[in-house]
């Protein structure tokens, strides 16, 4: 068989990974719906369709009603609403499939080179690995498609007559679909700027010539920039709509910075702690390293526009995980641009005696790639979970709606019973409420961070996380809140907030399950629902699960666990224990249960049993900080201070920046009568790592309990020097004076400080 034959075979085999890739992409795009914000889009899409206009003020919330709102995604909302209305959730997933396939198809066209398909295929796989992390029904999908189209047109078809009208249409659509529309003009601007650099600035090596445009192309590019910039004005809000992304961008540095701490997709994918870890964001790191290396290999002939694109999107993606696919596309583009420019021999140190072996090697490479793609696809798509409600297995990649992330049962309860009013809710459930029960129910907050703003979000945190009762009273009255949906489907409800509503005399619990609690204000309007659905949690019994029906399927008893957690937060320990017992029957290796069991038994002062459970949990998750703290405290409760010390020493070694560990260790030393060590540890943490004088006072008290007054005084003097005129410190000192410190010296010292 001749070399020509092997060359043809090599080409044929190089097409196989492409087919496999598209096949797997289609499967992966069929991921069940889990997105939170989609529901808000559906709700708005319905409103726009029914009323025939796009409101430029808020209509969804009870807290920001009437506030100006640039709805930059209205077109997306209308599209998804219609698809959902006609075809249900599968319609949306089909849309996702089409968008994904189209996007990757454009990428393929950009990188298609008959002789170098190995490179294209390899980088397309990297793109797939990063892109699929954002397979969720959001306007971002359209942005990514338009991104790909822009690159396709600008990189390959700048000289074509149809380039301009196509980009214009794309830009108009983009402006009305997603706030990232400014990328369009931005790409063009990068191109214009790069060309200017090539022409005006002396660049290293052959960079001035690499990717250089003709004069005609340069002019075309500038015209395109103007046209696509103008296209941005084609939106319902006009100039406001154009300026919107810039406004959002500038607000990110100020008060809106808070969102980056709370919203997962806005968090940095790589930080200093995870930089060298292969477990975190490994494909993203791989993409960065590989694409960077292509610049090294091609350093003599770098295309400046590619370099700028790469740097900008690298920075963009390093700032927020949601932007990784944009970087993936950029990395793909620059990698193939660079690698297509250099000789294969410069990259790979292998030399083949015969050309035939080179083609054979490529065939084997492509076959291995196909196998890997299929195995990856199979591993992903075979993920199933057990739906305990329906007693059946559900595949994650078989379409439909994923229930676990939504308070679906609670919202179904609201819908079925036609409950109305202004509701207090958490950030994660706002969009789902809007999508399902608007306009009967108006939410307190939803996912539109840029509309609510950082200040409101801070207030929301005080209400939700801290359970600030005075503020809750105030806001309930201010916004005439008549209901509260406390969502526990994605996170545990903060104890203070839960206790507020549960113990408030004018709030009644009408719904309780793993996904949420619903309270209604005891007012005449809510009487009929209250009378019908009032719940007494003290008599709560876990629902019976038919284990025979579940059979050997692996079911995660998160429902029992979430209910137990909520019950425990309300100090309803017996029902909580029943739920946990059921959870272990369903899955004996659901070890979260053990932490909660330990907590409950510690509360009941059955420290031996608490210890038993905490040790199991820590045994299973030795790097779990909370588990280790729990175990240490269990030793403490059992008065085994030497063992407690050992655990705190491990905590301090493993988490040296957490001051809590030091304070506890210091206390443990005190209880074990190692006073000198207690003082030394205390001085390590205070005041450098923490200025918590409350913890300091506890140590002083414990030292006094042990009659180690000299050491108590040493710490006291040390803290006083730091706290000086701190009023809160003086207040706490009064308690110290009257309570435990019998030593005359300290009492007097306390008085002295207080009087000063």
């Amino acid at each position: 068989m001749s070399d020509r034959f092997w060359k043809k075979m090599s080409y044929v085999f190089s097409l196989l990974p492409i087919g496999a890739l598209f096949g797997v992409l289609v499967s992966l795009a069929n991921l069940e719906i889990r997105d939170l914000d989609l529901w808000l889009h559906l709700g708005m899409g319905k409103f726009i369709t029914l009323h025939g206009f796009v409101p430029d003020y808020d209509i969804l919330s009870s807290t920001i009603a009437g506030k100006m709102w640039i709805n930059h995604e209205w077109l997306f909302q209308v599209i998804v609403y219609h698809l959902f209305n006609l075809f249900g959730p599968d319609g949306l997933l089909k849309m996702q499939m089409v968008l994904v396939v189209a996007t990757v198809f454009f990428l393929l066209l950009i990188g298609y080179n008959k002789d170098r398909l190995a490179i294209t295929n390899f980088f397309l796989v990297i793109v797939m690995l990063l892109y699929q992390q954002r397979f969720t029904i959001r306007p971002d999908l359209f942005s990514l498609l338009f991104f790909a189209i822009y690159i396709f047109v600008l990189a390959l078809h700048l000289d074509k007559k149809w380039a301009l009208p196509v980009l214009f249409i794309v830009q108009v659509l983009w402006t009305n679909i997603h706030g990232f529309f400014f990328f369009g003009p931005f790409f063009v601007l990068i191109g214009v700027f790069s060309e200017w650099l090539r022409r005006s600035v002396r660049l290293p090596y052959e960079w001035n010539d690499s990717g250089k445009l003709t004069d005609e192309e340069y002019v075309r590019l500038q015209i395109i920039f103007l046209v696509v910039s103008l296209a941005c004005f084609f939106n319902p809000s006009g100039v406001q709509g154009v300026l919107y992304p810039l406004r959002v961008l500038f607000s990110l540095g100020g008060e809106n910075k808070i969102f980056f701490d709370y919203i997962q997709e806005l968090q940095k994918p790589i930080n200093f702690n995870t930089l060298w870890s292969l477990g975190e964001s490994r494909y993203y790191k791989l993409a960065i390293v590989l694409s960077f290396m292509t610049f090294i290999y091609n350093r003599r002939r770098i295309d400046v526009s590619a370099l700028l694109l790469w740097i900008i999107f690298l920075i963009f993606s390093l700032n927020a995980g949601r932007n990784i696919p944009f970087f993936a596309f950029s990395a793909y583009l620059v990698s193939i641009t660079n690698l297509f420019n250099i000789d294969f021999k410069e990259i790979v140190p292998l030399r083949f005696s015969y050309k035939k072996f080179q083609y054979l090697t490529l065939i084997v490479f492509h076959l291995l790639m196909v196998i890997w793609i299929f195995e990856y696809g199979q591993e992903m798509t075979s993920r199933v979970y057990y739906d305990i409600d329906n007693y059946e297995r559900k595949a994650e990649f078989n379409g439909g709606i994923g229930k676990e992330g939504y308070p679906y049962k609670a919202v179904a309860f609201l819908k079925e019973n036609h409950i109305e009013g202004n509701f207090f809710n958490d950030f994660n459930s706002g969009a789902y409420l809007v999508g399902n029960v608007f306009p009967q129910i108006k939410v307190f907050i939803d996912g539109r961070t840029e509309v609510y703003g950082g200040k409101f979000f801070r207030k929301y945190n005080e209400l939700w996380k801290d359970g600030n009762t005075a503020l809750l009273d105030k806001e309930i009255a201010r916004y005439h809140l008549t209901g509260a949906l406390l969502n526990s489907s994605r996170q545990h409800i903060p104890k203070e907030t839960l206790q507020y509503f549960y113990h408030a005399k004018d709030w009644v619990l009408v719904y309780f399950d793993h996904d949420a609690l619903i309270f209604l204000k005891d007012i005449p309007k809510n009487k009929k629902w209250i009378e019908k659905f009032r719940i007494d949690l003290t008599a709560w019994k876990p629902p019976v699960v038919d284990l025979l029906k579940i059979g050997e399927a692996r079911a995660v008893p998160f429902q029992n666990y979430y209910r137990a957690y909520t019950l425990e937060s309300l100090d309803l320990d017996e029902p909580a224990l029943l739920e946990l017992e059921e959870a272990l029957k369903i899955a004996p290796d659901y070890f979260q249960v053990y932490s909660l069991l330990g907590k409950i038994y510690a509360k009941k002062k059955n420290y031996a049993k608490a210890f038993q459970y905490f040790r199991v949990k820590l045994g299973v998750s030795p790097s779990d900080k909370e588990a280790r703290f729990n175990l240490a405290m269990a030793y403490n409760d059992l008065k085994e201070y030497a063992y407690a010390m050992k655990q705190y020493q491990i905590i301090v070694r493993s988490w040296p920046n957490d001051p809590k560990g030091y304070f506890f260790l210091s206390n443990a030393y005190v209880k074990n009568k190692e006073y000198e060590k207690a003082v030394n540890v205390f001085k390590k943490v205070y005041p450098n790592k923490s200025k918590s004088f409350q913890d300091s006072i506890k140590i002083i008290e414990n030292l006094c309990d042990q009659k180690a007054y000299a050491y108590a005084k040493e710490i006291f003097d040390f803290v006083s020097r730091v706290e000086g005129n701190n009023e809160d410190f003086k207040n706490d000192l009064n308690d110290l004076k009257t309570s435990k410190c019998l030593d005359f010296d300290i009492k007097n010292s306390c008085s002295d400080v207080c009087e000063n």
Partner: protein, 712 residues
């Protein structure tokens, strides 16, 4: 850099060879070694057992036993471990020398990692490690060329040692014979490519080979048994088919490392597979210049290695040699020929990776250990004697109380009993399969599986006065245990997690019976101080073993308490749930039984035995469809599982799927001729539904099986 890798590798070898004593047979060798030293003679007939006393015995490892006994006398168990370390270190030093002689460093050292990983599976002080050493020695000598009388002398000496240390001494002459055959083939048969010229010997060398063969064969006669000793391995080989096949299913080291089901998988023993692949690749790349003697030996050692786990090391040692032989060959892929600097840089980087891997591996090994219930501390797997495998407490009991007699015991505990108690106690059976023979072994298994009548006859025949049951390294022999406990002529004097000791109620045993009689009704579950255990991972095998024994004896409450205690210690242990399920099933609490079996299955999803219990759970709750599904999954994975087929018969009969039930029954009958408990239930159903007539064939099979049971 290369030296660093070598030293680290040797360090790793020493570390690994320092593994705790966990071999069963070592105790037999110690007992035998003691006997030889004390009596200054190698016994020609059995002296250790009460059942084969006086039977001719070719003790092919006598010299090893003497060496062992002397090392133990001099330095205890540490002395034995040091001996092992020395031998293994010597093996690897020779291998490294062989590798360095090729002028390469990185590749031989990398392959030696595969050798070491395979060696790990046989790091236990047995005569085999001397065979490995002698094999490597032979290779070392032969690779230097056979052209000097000194070489003959060395080979003679090595062969004499080998023949008196291990039955695999035959490999020595065999290797030389292959060399001769290979040369003959080169001279007389037209081989492909350039094979006729590769490794060709000149006439002098060829003659020397033949003389060497005669010399080493002659050396084989220098053993206490003369010709019988020489023929011994051949006799063993010839007996491996036929009845002796029974040993392969009962002795783990005789199992095949790669089966048809696992041939395309990387596990188990990925390093063994890698060695096969890499060494085979050498032949492919070097196909034009194959040395036929190397090819033949590689093939033969591969067959040997694939036939049993214990032989894997022989293969990888030779695979290493093959790999070295092919190292210098140029291939179609020329690696970095024009970039010397890059080549060296890459080599350094790869060596750094190797160093990092070795250090990391040593780190991982050093934390290997388990919980010692006696000291409540972690015991490393390195140094000392294993506390997890031997019924040491039970034997301590025998030793401390100076109990004597002929004892019935299980196969796995025979050697340990001998090593600790001989000559006070003579065993019923031990690890010398070739002496006892397959028929005796099978009979001893029958006793364990419940043939009490045969046991009683055995007691009379061999004047057995004690029974030693061990469940550290064996399953609880439920039927035998139950029968013994119920038999008034036997008294339980010791019972714990490692085993039980019964003494015959005769005058000679009275003093021990009076003092140590055990009343299981009063047995108190020992509590474990969980505070001391902390978060150390503990496998609560003590509780589980006792629970299993209690369950077999029908002490359900005690069994439950033990299992609950095991769960308290670690709720991830499948066995605990399985036990609780079995207890609940016996108490006819089928809902709980199913719940526990289900939990066990979730923890061990691939465990077929647990799946069997789950099938039972479904059956108890009348979910016959699912019961059938579980059975079908089991037999799909294990087509020889007779027990499941019998159960499937029951399930199908209950669903009135008579045709399928008959098919299953026929299959089960083929696999196991014994009457199964499930067939009793099948009979009941047939009787109740009056189906004996219509299901004539099924009835006939059942009747046939009942006859087999009665005749036994």
């Amino acid at each position: 850099m290369g030296l660093i890798v070598i030293f680290l590798l040797l360090g790793l070898v020493m570390f690994e060879a320092n593994v705790e004593i966990k071999d069963f047979d070592i105790w037999l060798h110690l007992a035998s070694g003691r006997y030889i030293i004390d009596h200054f003679s190698v016994p020609q007939a059995d002296v250790l057992s009460c059942s084969i006393s006086g039977k001719p015995w070719i003790n092919h490892s006598w010299l090893f036993q003497v060496l062992l006994a002397e090392s133990y006398r001099a330095a205890g168990f540490e002395g034995l471990i040091n001996l092992q370390v020395a031998i293994v270190l010597l093996i690897f030093i020779l291998l490294i020398f062989l590798g360095l002689r090729t002028g390469h460093q990185l590749l031989p050292l990398s392959f030696l990692i595969l050798v070491l990983l395979t060696f790990e599976t046989r790091l236990t002080l047995r005569p085999d490690i001397f065979s490995f050493l002698f094999l490597v020695f032979y290779i070392f000598i032969l690779s230097n060329g056979l052209n000097h009388w000194r070489t003959l002398l060395i080979l003679f000496f090595v062969q004499v040692l080998w023949v008196n240390i291990h039955g695999f001494f035959i490999l020595g002459p065999f290797m030389i014979l292959i060399g001769i055959i290979a040369e003959w083939i080169r001279r007389h048969i037209r081989l492909p490519y350039e094979w006729n010229n590769i490794g060709k010997l000149n006439d002098d060398e060829y003659l020397f080979f033949k003389i060497a063969f005669a010399v080493v064969v002659g050396a084989c006669f220098i053993n206490p048994y003369g010709l019988r000793g020489v023929l011994y391995p051949l006799n063993i080989l010839s007996s491996l088919s036929g009845e002796s096949k029974i040993f392969f299913s009962h002795i783990s080291e005789l199992a095949k490392p790669i089966t048809f089901q696992t041939v395309f998988s990387l596990e188990p023993y990925w390093y063994f597979r890698a060695a096969i692949f890499v060494s085979f690749l050498g032949f492919i790349i070097h196909r034009k210049k194959i040395d036929i003697s190397i090819l033949l030996l590689w093939g033969i050692f591969l067959v040997l290695g694939l036939s049993a786990l214990r032989n894997m090391v022989f293969f990888v040692l030779f695979a290493y040699v093959t790999f070295l032989f092919h190292l210098d060959i140029l291939s179609p892929i020329k690696f970095l020929e024009e970039r010397e600097k890059l080549k060296y840089v890459l080599a350094i980087i790869l060596k750094i990776f190797l160093v990092a891997w070795i250090i990391n591996y040593i780190g991982a090994l050093s934390v290997r250990g388990y919980f010692d219930f006696d000291t409540l501390e972690r015991k490393s797997e390195f140094g000392g004697v294993s506390k997890r495998l031997f019924p040491y407490k039970a034997v301590d009991f025998l030793v401390e109380n100076k109990i004597k007699g002929n004892f019935y015991n299980q196969f796995n505990s025979g050697a340990y009993l001998l090593g600790r108690t001989y000559p006070d106690i003579k065993v019923f059976i031990d690890g010398r399969t070739e002496v006892y023979g397959p028929r005796f072994f099978k009979k001893s298994q029958d006793i364990l599986y419940g043939d009490y009548k045969y046991f009683e006859n055995t007691v009379k025949k061999y004047n057995i006065t004690g029974v030693f049951l061990n469940w550290m390294s064996d399953r609880v022999p439920e039927k035998l245990l139950k029968n013994l406990y119920a038999d008034k002529s036997w008294v339980l004097v010791y019972f714990d997690y490692d085993g039980a000791v019964f003494l015959k109620d005769i005058i000679e045993n009275q003093k021990w019976i009076l003092r140590h009689r055990v009343d299981l009704d009063r047995f108190v579950v020992p509590k474990l101080d969980m505070l001391k255990v902390g978060i150390t991972p503990v496998i609560p095998f003590q509780y589980l073993n006792r629970a299993n024994a209690f369950l077999a004896l029908g002490f359900l409450e005690q069994a439950r308490l033990e299992a609950q205690q095991a769960l308290r210690i670690d709720p991830r242990i499948t066995e605990s749930y399985k036990l609780l399920g079995s207890i609940a099933a016996k108490q006819k609490n089928y809902d709980d039984a199913f719940c526990y079996y289900r939990q066990a299955k979730l923890l061990s999803p691939h465990d077929l035995e647990i799946r069997y219990y789950l099938a039972q759970g479904f059956y108890y709750l009348e979910d016959l469809d699912n019961a059938q599904k579980q059975c079908e999954k089991i037999v799909a994975a294990e087509p020889q599982n007779a027990k499941t087929f019998y159960f499937l018969v029951l399930v199908l009969i209950k669903q009135e799927k008579y045709e399928e039930a008959l098919k299953a029954l026929k299959k089960a009958d083929k696999l196991s001729p014994y009457f199964s408990e499930e067939l009793k239930d099948v009979e009941d159903i047939l009787k109740t539904k009056n189906l004996f007539g219509p299901l004539k064939e099924m009835n006939e099979i059942i009747e046939k099986k009942k006859k087999v049971r009665r005749s036994k």
